[in-house]
């Protein structure tokens, strides 16, 4: 009897020691159809590894709601193991000392070798990995309805001039040239693509990453605003307040010809049963071919007190970068994997083209820039200031000169 108990204790002890069943609580807002399916894969993989997954999904508002919840949890000393935080926000949380060091996982899995430097820089705080990248979205896409273009004898525009010529032609025929949703982040998404097109990648960096006052007040900036204002004459009256997916459906139905949106729009085309190349085009935003505005989703890891939970957290970080998860997640979500060595054969032509540009720009060390509109290039405070000016300019009769002045002033004030 006594021996049996001893045996049981010993057995139980070994099992616990080998499995180290910990729990990871993950705060995220991947709640819509395709996204929820994507994150469920990670949950399964974590469970298969012998740990338990506690889902902490907060829907709505592009993460605003989740972010508010996260802050109150962190302040009360009860942060979840992991949260969907991206871009410069990772640095802000790192500065506050909340994030866990992932160096052991990163070095044993050679993260430095498989991730491009631009990506790993975002994931590191003080030289240490604190977050695991999930996917890469390309923002500077233009989506076009092939039938509308063919019917009107328009070739996919390669630069801004061709875009305006095509838009003029479509407008004359009574077709809305550009499907746009008039929300600040969509205005900013269009604006940043135009800045990239007009000024190029280096100028983009000077403005949205370095916030160089000279670049902000330059002639190129004024020209960007001029081009941005032109968009307004080619959108329809119902644009203000429209959600991005409603704008995408206008392109799908052929009510409009173009939309400027990141590659998450592809999910809408796929859901409608449309095929790239035959029903629609995925094109680089006119004049930005060979450059890549990236938007990386990532899961930041918060310092945990419990050792078992810590082990589970590390395991999850490792799983996030595994080829299998990268494959399944990104196929569902429309983005591309973060690993440069990923096999892309299962992906569609748009994702393959996106990956090619991603690899080329990251190898050349040129043309790969962080998206301002999606919080990759700057703090939320400066991003907000740029949003305010861009959207006010687009929705009023403000002159480009005034916009340039307001932009440089707003960026200075938010620094």
């Amino acid at each position: 009897m006594f021996k049996k108990t001893l045996l049981a204790i010993a057995l139980g002890g070994t099992i616990a020691a080998t499995a180290q069943a910990g729990e990871v609580e993950v705060l995220h807002w991947w709640t819509s159809g395709g996204e929820a399916k994507s994150i469920a894969v990670l949950k399964e993989m974590v469970n298969d590894a012998g740990h338990s997954w506690k889902d902490f999904a907060v829907a709505g508002g592009g993460g605003e709601n989740a972010y508010t919840v996260l802050r109150s949890r962190a302040v009360s000393g009860n942060a979840p193991a992991s949260a969907q935080i991206k871009g410069l926000e990772i640095q802000e949380w790192g500065d506050l000392g909340f994030l866990a060091d992932l160096t052991p996982v990163a070095s044993s899995n050679n993260w430095d070798g498989i991730l491009p430097a631009v990506v790993s820089d975002v994931m590191k705080h003080d030289g240490k990995y604190v977050a695991a990248p999930v996917n890469v979205h390309r923002v500077n896409w233009m989506w076009a309805n092939k039938k509308v273009l063919d019917d009107n004898g328009i070739k996919p525009p390669k630069n801004m001039k061709e875009l305006w010529a095509a838009s003029e032609k479509l407008k004359a025929k009574g077709i809305t040239p550009i499907a746009h949703g008039g929300q600040p982040w969509q205005d900013a998404t269009t604006f940043e693509s135009i800045v990239l097109s007009v000024g190029g990648a280096d100028f983009f960096n000077d403005v949205f990453v370095e916030h160089d006052q000279k670049a902000l007040e330059s002639k190129t900036m004024k020209e960007s605003f001029d081009e941005f204002k032109k968009v307004k004459s080619y959108i329809d009256k119902g644009a203000p307040g429209r959600d991005w997916n409603v704008a995408t459906s206008m392109v799908i139905k052929g009510e409009a010809a173009f939309q400027f949106m990141g590659d998450w729009a592809k999910g809408e085309f796929s859901a409608a049963g449309k095929k790239p190349g035959t029903d629609y085009y995925c094109l680089a935003f006119p004049g930005t071919d060979g450059t890549f505005t990236f938007n990386i989703d990532s899961l930041a890891m918060f310092e945990q007190r419990n050792d078992d939970n810590k082990a589970a957290q590390m395991k999850m970080a490792e799983l996030i970068l595994s080829p299998k998860f990268q494959d399944v997640f990104n196929m569902n979500k429309g983005s591309i994997p973060v690993r440069l060595d990923q096999d892309m054969s299962g992906f569609d032509s748009c994702a393959q083209a996106s990956m090619e540009t991603f690899k080329a720009t990251s190898a050349a060390g040129k043309g790969l820039v962080p998206s301002m509109a999606h919080g990759m290039s700057t703090t939320s405070a400066i991003q907000g200031a740029i949003y305010d000016v861009a959207t006010e300019f687009f929705n009023s009769d403000m002159s480009s000169d005034e916009a340039v002045m307001k932009l440089s002033r707003a960026v200075r004030a938010a620094q």
Partner: protein, 315 residues
């Protein structure tokens, strides 16, 4: 037999009285403390969660706080930044336009409807319900419905074009200069029925003998209303004003649903500004200072009004 019983019951009552007196003497403490004891959790909660947080917000507004509270004091820097922010000034201007028009028009419409309903008309109950019904909807529903009604590509404008009036134009909601007035329209639709109900109750509460006396003196119906009835409804005006003013100042959900603060920032109001800067932009310091300014705005309106009203009542 009956007298005997009666005597007994009187005796009993005396006994009971005696008992009551003795218990109340003994438990004077409980009678005295019980209401205070029962109320104390509420008072404590109010002190902590209302006044405590007002104080905390005020303190934060003088700090450098970014995404989380921190206590490095910078004096009035956040207030300076706030008033140099174009968006904040725009939000204040919008609140002024919205507040004045919303409160003013709601009061006038509510009063006129109440007076018309007060003329002993048929089906008054049904009409009253119809006008009061929008109040049963949340501002989110009101905002969403009016968004569709006023949207030029699906709403009134499209309808008029479809039935042949192709020159018709009603695109205020997408026009940055006019969008704030669409918020006023939706707000009035929602709240004027409620104001009408308050006024109607006030009208019904007026002593009819005063009205009859005025009529005997030969006053016309118009004069009865302007000289006798409306002046005697001062407290009703007061409560309607307070209700509408707080709806106007805290207005957030209606605008979020109707225009989302757009086009651009054309319908931005302080509440939206405060929410965005505190919770989505990681500028807690500026958010807190805007909250303090809003509080000061409310107090600046209410205190003189309360003061004059309360003093008036005492006299």
């Amino acid at each position: 037999m009956t007298t005997h019983n009666a005597q007994a019951s009187v005796l009993n009552e005396n006994k009971l009285d005696g008992n009551r007196m003795s218990t109340s003497k003994r438990s004077k403490g409980i009678d005295y403390w019980l209401p205070k004891l029962v109320l104390s959790p509420t008072v404590a909660i109010t002190i902590v969660f209302i006044y405590g947080f007002i104080l905390w917000t005020t303190i934060l507004s003088f700090t450098k706080s970014r995404i989380l509270p921190q206590y490095e004091f910078v004096g009035f820097e956040q207030y300076v930044k706030l008033f140099l922010n174009d968006r904040w000034m725009g939000a204040l201007a919008n609140l002024a336009i919205f507040g004045i028009l919303f409160i003013g028009i709601c009061m006038v419409v509510g009063l006129v409807f109440a007076i018309l309903l007060d003329q002993n008309i048929r089906a008054e109950g049904a009409l009253r319900t119809i006008y009061l019904y929008p109040m049963a909807l949340s501002f989110i529903v009101t905002g969403t419905v009016w968004k569709w009604i006023m949207n030029p590509t699906v709403g009134i404008e499209k309808f008029m074009h479809d039935i042949g009036f192709s020159g018709f134009s009603f695109d205020w909601i997408v026009d940055p200069d006019m969008a704030i007035y669409t918020v006023v329209i939706a707000g009035i639709w929602q709240s004027s029925g409620f104001v009408m109900a308050i006024f109607l109750a006030g009208l019904r509460g007026i002593d009819t003998s005063i009205i009859k006396a005025a009529q005997l003196d030969g006053a016309s119906l118009f004069a009865v209303y302007t000289r006798v009835i409306i002046p005697s409804m001062r407290p009703v005006f007061f409560s309607a004003f307070i209700m509408l003013a707080h709806i106007a100042i805290k207005s957030f959900d209606l605008i979020m649903a109707l225009t989302g603060g757009g086009p651009g920032n054309a319908t931005d109001v302080p509440a939206i500004f405060m929410y965005q800067f505190s919770f989505t932009r990681g500028q807690l310091g500026i958010g807190a200072s805007s909250a303090v300014i809003m509080l000061m705005g409310v107090t600046a309106i209410l205190i003189p009004y309360l003061y004059s009203e309360l003093r008036g009542e005492k006299q």
